[in-house]
């Protein structure tokens, strides 16, 4: 489903190489986790896949179901089924959360040639999904993420994911800033979406999230590369020993 090959990325503004040949394939129905030291390039990878400005791909490819993501506009990638839950969700004053969700859902439907959801159907759906994530009516009415707590913002990301039902979900440190209960809500939200056709790429620093969302594959990223790939036990190893051993082993 998601296939990244030899991806090299540098910053547009300065001559700084951040991703130095990333190879990664996520098959449908699987959950992949990426762990790795701060600054290793995890968020950069997720931004490049989502189509954020400021990065230049100097080598390599990234495709979703065979289609090159890198040639698409961000909205086209979304319509193609890619979703990124941001490490730092953006606040948008003046745009109501509900308006935002409805606009996004219908824009994607339109792009895919599907009919827009009626106001009533949309409302029903959003209420149901929001309830599962304990997002109350007030949070739906307020401007997008404005004044939301860190954990509320993360839950709001998962609500968007639940509404958009993407094929390929990338979660960038969605667990950071969550309390124990919120972690459970978010994980349940993610698990509810797990099915044979959908892939997940979960970026995290902690095993705790992976206790809830059981990964099939765990990757370790360091200095712009995937340096080790293994099963769930790799995350446990990081949890107990840190990165030192793995980094040494590869060096």
């Amino acid at each position: 489903m998601l296939e990244i090959k030899n991806l090299h990325v540098q910053l547009e503004e300065e001559d700084k190489q951040i991703l130095k040949g990333v190879d990664l394939t996520v098959e449908p129905g699987t959950v992949h986790a990426i762990m790795g030291p701060n600054g290793s390039g995890k968020s950069t990878l997720s931004y490049v896949l989502a189509g954020r400005d400021g990065y230049e791909v100097t080598e390599g490819t990234a495709t979703l179901d065979g289609e090159s993501l890198l040639d698409m506009e961000p909205e086209e990638r979304a319509a193609a089924g890619l979703f990124l839950a941001f490490q730092y969700p953006v606040e948008i004053p003046g745009v109501g959360n509900m308006t935002f969700l409805r606009t996004a859902v219908n824009a994607q439907r339109k792009a895919r040639g599907e009919e827009e959801l009626s106001a009533a159907d949309f409302l029903k759906l959003v209420r149901e999904r929001a309830k599962a994530l304990k997002i109350d009516a007030d949070m739906l009415k307020r401007p997008v993420n404005v004044g939301f707590s860190g954990g509320e913002k993360k839950r709001n990301e998962i609500l968007q994911m639940a509404m958009l039902e993407p094929k390929m979900c990338i979660l960038d440190e969605t667990d950071s800033g969550l309390d124990v209960d919120a972690m459970k809500l978010v994980s349940d939200g993610v698990n509810a979406l797990r099915d044979a056709g959908r892939g997940f790429l979960v970026i995290t620093h902690y095993q705790r999230l992976l206790d809830h969302i059981k990964p099939d594959v765990v990757h370790i990223m360091a200095k712009g590369r995937i340096i080790k790939t293994g099963g769930p036990e790799l995350a446990l190893e990081v949890e107990t020993n840190g990165y030192a051993d793995i980094l040494n082993e590869v060096a």
């Binding site: 989502a50 004053p93 792009a111």
Partner: protein
């Protein structure tokens, strides 16, 4: 007042040559006085400090430039509001198209009829606030209006009516040059909502004098649009008694040259004035909001909120001043002017000013100019919203903060819908 320079005098002579001063009647005196003021001031010139950002040429030249009459089948704003509708075609009252001028709690006359009907309050107001508003800054086009306006309404609100008064302007002739002057008196504890919309004429000079007695309230909501070639100068002079409320909001789209002046004077304690505006300019568009608020009483609150969205070379101007006199302690003055520049060709020129002579006041002002926030734009796009729609959504959000100043949610919503439709059409 300084002796006007030769050019200003020449411009005035040329302009006056095409105008006829209405003679006789009880407004004879205020008209002649206004003409005397005007003669002393001369017409605004490009080098006048107060016209530094806006070229007065097309507003003062003897004949207006022709302007095409707008035509489409879109339903005008406020159409769905229960209102008393009063229509002016090219600046002339149209009784056929208007509702009967009957509204409980309100008396409405044409200014032409004031003298016959011996309406004292009107005689005491016509030209009076305009004259007060000439200091410390000259506003010659308002004096010209007082002198030469032949039509307009005298609205006397003694009790709160059941519905708004809605002034609807209609532009019919491509060369019309309309001068309208309305006066409004709101008696103690009464409340009026005044709506204005529609293109008025090829060139439009409008003046409204608003006198709000203690505890009175006036809500003013205006939509300028549907005339791409509009050239208009408008003045609103308002005097606020104790505990009174004055809220004015203007939505402006299109128009090649628009200058809206708001002159607010607090004369009674504990009063409140909010003036706000949202404007959208695309291409050949120049819009100027000039506001002058004078605090001359205790514990009054003034608030100015102006937002402008500009693209394709459009120009927005904001000149806003808060003057707090020595006795106006406990004044709360706020002013914000912001522009959203959708490209590098457009310009926002702002001159915010505070002049404070009282020591116990809280006044603040700010002015910003910026582009669409890239982070927000990417966030929206990453959720599948196309760039164009995302830009419109953010633009609307920017303007909504000014539209929010309107107290009546139904009116605010009506205007927001217009804005949304306009943005969708234009992008």
């Amino acid at each position: 007042m300084a002796v006007p320079e030769r050019k200003a005098q020449e411009a005035l002579e040329a302009r006056l040559a095409g105008l006829v001063l209405p003679e006789g009647g009880c407004l004879d005196k205020p008209r002649k006085e206004a003409l005397a003021r005007l003669t002393e001031m001369g017409l605004p010139q490009r080098r006048d400090e107060y016209w530094r950002f806006t070229r007065p040429d097309t507003l003062i030249q003897p004949e207006p430039l022709p302007a095409r009459v707008f035509d489409n089948d879109e339903v005008p704003v406020f159409s769905s509001i229960d209102r008393l509708k009063i229509v002016f075609v090219d600046g002339v009252f149209d009784p056929e198209a208007s509702d009967d001028l009957e509204l409980e709690g309100v008396r409405i006359d044409r200014i032409a009829d004031i003298c016959d009907k011996d309406i004292h309050w009107a005689k005491d107001l016509y030209g009076v606030l305009e004259e007060r508003g000439q200091h410390p800054v000259a506003r010659p086009l308002a004096a010209l209006n007082t002198a030469f306006a032949r039509d307009g309404l005298a609205i006397h609100v003694t009790r709160t009516p059941s519905k708004p008064i809605s002034l609807v302007y209609v532009h019919a002739s491509e060369t019309s040059d309309a001068i309208l002057h309305h006066i409004i008196r709101v008696e103690p504890e009464a409340e009026l909502t005044l709506l204005e919309n529609g293109p008025a004429a090829a060139r439009f000079n409008k003046c409204i004098e608003v006198d709000i007695a203690d505890g009175g309230k006036l809500h003013h909501v205006r939509a300028q649009g549907r005339d791409h070639e509009r050239r208009a100068v408008t003045h609103m002079f308002s005097r606020l008694g104790a505990r009174s409320v004055y809220k004015s909001f203007t939505l402006t789209v299109n128009g090649v040259m628009t200058r809206n002046e708001q002159i607010v004077e607090f004369t009674g304690d504990d009063a409140l004035a909010h003036v706000a505006g949202a404007c959208l300019g695309d291409g050949d568009f120049h819009h100027d909001d000039t506001v002058f608020v004078t605090h001359d009483a205790l514990n009054c609150e003034s608030r100015q909120v102006f937002k402008k969205v500009l693209k394709n070379g459009a120009v927005g101007v904001f000149q806003g001043k808060i003057l707090v006199n020595q006795k106006a302690q406990k004044t709360d003055g706020y002013q914000i002017s912001q522009s959203l520049l959708l490209d590098g060709d457009s310009q926002f020129l702002a001159k915010p000013e505070l002049e404070i002579y009282a020591d116990d006041v809280a006044c603040s002002h700010g002015s910003t100019s910026g582009a669409i926030d890239e982070e927000s734009l990417f966030y929206l796009r990453s959720r599948g919203v196309p760039e164009k729609d995302a830009t419109n959504l953010l633009t609307l959000a920017f303007l909504a903060e000014a539209v929010d100043e309107i107290e009546d949610p139904k009116l605010a919503e009506d205007l927001l819908e217009r804005l949304e439709a306009w943005l969708a059409r234009r992008s």
